[in-house]
Symmetry: C2
Subunit: 414 residues, 2 copies
């Protein structure tokens, strides 16, 4: 298995484009289309928020009825189409069917996604007016990968793409591509069917009908569901995986290489979302080892990466290890305060922060200064926590809390 340059059109049979339809005030591109040249099997995970955006309700419904006849994903960025009620669903349905007509696609073959401001109606007319340009630009390659990746962004500062290839046990070369957005309102708790993180994977692997959902769910639980920027679980979170079988060969869903390709692509995208958290200056990676159960490991890792105080301390390069211990204490995980160890583990060194429940020696003096210098230098802060309560482990990704986060979110809407 190998990570290669590329995005959603890296697998065979996929094309993409992104255009500006005048929805974002900035004038940036705001509508993305990803297409497969043949029917694809699709699986989707959507937000568990009870207040679900119209594209979430509609996407879940379409996947219930036509999981095997999917031709693509139409994403509108700039409006969430949430708090829009039945009219919002009708608007999105109309947009999809008009797009299908314009592009000579079968009815109900497109999946919807939206991200942006909650409240305003979907600007159907603006998107439809952009269809001719979108249709002309549909193609494979690095450029359309980038165009699609940019068109789904909101407050993100970077496009997020991934491409992986690998050889199945039967010798078939399969490819997988992906794209994601996510910067604020990020604490996805995606369930089947349930994620404003958007992440779309495409693959030319052949997959047996009915198996894609579980495979996706398993991988998302360990990747996107372990990302937190601000603890707010969005109304619009959506992850789609489209498998069009263009690679031929045997079924891939149980092939270890294919499964690790899905996991790798999602982890790369999840890390990219965390690193590009609103206002973030550092990526924070929290690995919990020795937890009693997997659920304990996940809770502990999520609590630390989600703690506002830990995030602010890391922004300030402040070795305030008490806040890490505090977050472990309220995480709900079974933690023995007298046994927990916390370190900063870089590729070059392991720097103790908490040893058997006590602050590491010298943290108030020389050691503390060294930790501070290290924190200032690190672009990624890798916290490793050992609970000595069992054998389960988990990793969570997040980012620091900076002045920019406040600025972005105090001025986002008006």
């Amino acid at each position: 298995m190998e990570v290669v340059p590329g995005g959603v059109t890296y697998p065979r049979g996929f094309t993409a484009a992104g255009v500006a339809c005048g929805i974002k005030r900035s004038g940036r591109s705001d509508v993305a289309l990803i297409l497969s040249d043949r029917d694809a099997l699709a699986a989707g995970l959507f937000t568990t928020n009870v207040v679900k955006a119209a594209p979430v309700l509609l996407g879940a419904e379409l996947l219930r009825h036509h999981p095997g006849n999917v031709r693509g994903i139409l994403t509108v960025s700039g409006v969430a189409n949430a708090l829009t009620g039945p009219q919002g669903v009708a608007d999105n349905r109309l947009l999809l069917s008009r797009t299908e007509e314009a592009l000579h696609l079968p009815a109900e073959s497109l999946l919807p996604a939206c991200t942006g401001v909650i409240g305003p109606p979907l600007p159907v007319g603006k998107v439809l007016a952009g269809l001719p340009a979108l249709s002309r630009q549909m193609r494979r390659g690095r450029e359309p990968d980038r165009h699609a990746a940019h068109a789904i962004l909101t407050t993100d500062t970077h496009a997020k793409m991934v491409a992986v290839r690998g050889r199945l046990a039967d010798g078939t070369l399969v490819r997988l591509g992906g794209v994601a957005k996510g910067s604020g309102m990020i604490a996805p708790r995606l369930a089947a069917p349930h994620a404003t993180t958007l992440a779309f994977l495409t693959t030319d692997a052949r997959v047996r009908p009915g198996t894609l959902g579980r495979l996706l769910s398993h991988a998302v639980d360990r990747t996107f569901n372990m990302v937190s920027v601000d603890g707010d679980t969005s109304t619009n979170d959506t992850v789609y995986l489209l498998a069009n079988g263009a690679a031929g060969g045997g079924y891939a869903e149980n092939d270890p290489t294919f499964r690790s390709m899905v996991a790798t692509a999602l982890e790369r995208l999840a890390r990219a979302v965390a690193r590009d958290g609103e206002g973030a200056t550092k990526l924070i990676t929290v690995t919990v080892q020795g937890a009693r159960t997997a659920s304990d490991a996940r809770s502990a890792a999520r609590a630390v990466v989600g703690s506002t105080l830990v995030k602010a301390a890391i922004f300030g390069a402040d070795p305030n290890v008490g806040r890490i211990a505090c977050a472990l204490g309220y995480s709900g995980a079974r933690v023995d305060p007298e046994r927990m160890d916390v370190s900063l583990v870089t590729s070059r060194q392991e720097v103790p922060l908490i040893v058997a429940g006590r602050p590491a020696a010298g943290l108030e003096n020389g050691h503390g200064r060294r930790v501070r210098e290290l924190l200032l230098r690190l672009d990624e802060v890798p916290l490793q926590i050992r609970l000595h309560a069992g054998r389960a482990s988990a990793t969570a990704w997040g980012c620091d809390l900076s002045y920019s986060y406040v600025q972005i979110n105090a001025a986002y809407h008006t």
Copy 2:
């Protein structure tokens, strides 16, 4: 019942003082003592964080053994005495017993509390050196009330005090005083016995042994446990209530006036803690009505007041109502997205924000501008939410998220 000026020494038989022992680098006062001139019944609630500070472990133990022979509370501010293990408990025990000796108090009659940086050991010597000054200054009145209130602060910008008096059904005049601190690491989840919010109540009411804990727990669940500044549940949260019976008369624990005095005092202190949240420019009050159950009402109110995105929007006076709907959606409460109403309700007007699950008309235009102007003007932002799912209600208190929060917490420790 009447709220009057005063603090912890307002009830008969109580004295207090606060002195500077050189623990805070600022040189501000950092040790506070509250004493009763006779044995008091005491109840305590402590943090549910698994990583408990030494004074929390010790305070809970003392209350288990001697709930009826309490003479006072010794608070050290500047260090949390957390992550200090058995040595931390031994240090705090030594501090209390030396203080009892110096002030000729019975053994094990003082309760401990600490707040401040997690990690460093309790500076027992510094506190002991301050005892003579503390002892000389013990008295009743507005000045010692203020001194004690200031000495327990950390990043707080204001002292927090309350005093209430009322007449029991049998004609007895009873008094109740209180003091609190709390600015960051504020999301108390206090349980019996369990709350770095500190809040101490004193009363001269006569209370039957064994009844104080439940009374306190009931009131704290509706007040301090409904406050969130940053979602981080501290290692040190502690609420104590001391009742010394100096008012005489009948037992007060079931008297409606006395119960409402306790509730009123705690609500005043809880609001003061929320208003003084780190970096706060506005108090946010969220009242949920028409919830299916009390638990739903509490979850919904806490989710909205705790949402980082709602807090940032209010700091920016941004009528971003989608964030409120989003928080209700992930709160865990049973919410019908098509029925929820949200308004700003001031003493003069009710301003709709969400009506039956849709953004109020004009929110993108003229109405939005009016809401924005109102938000800019309001010192307290009173959000009222109606769920139309039942008859339960709850109120939660919090504050906005400003640049100062980030500054305070990026630079707190070093």
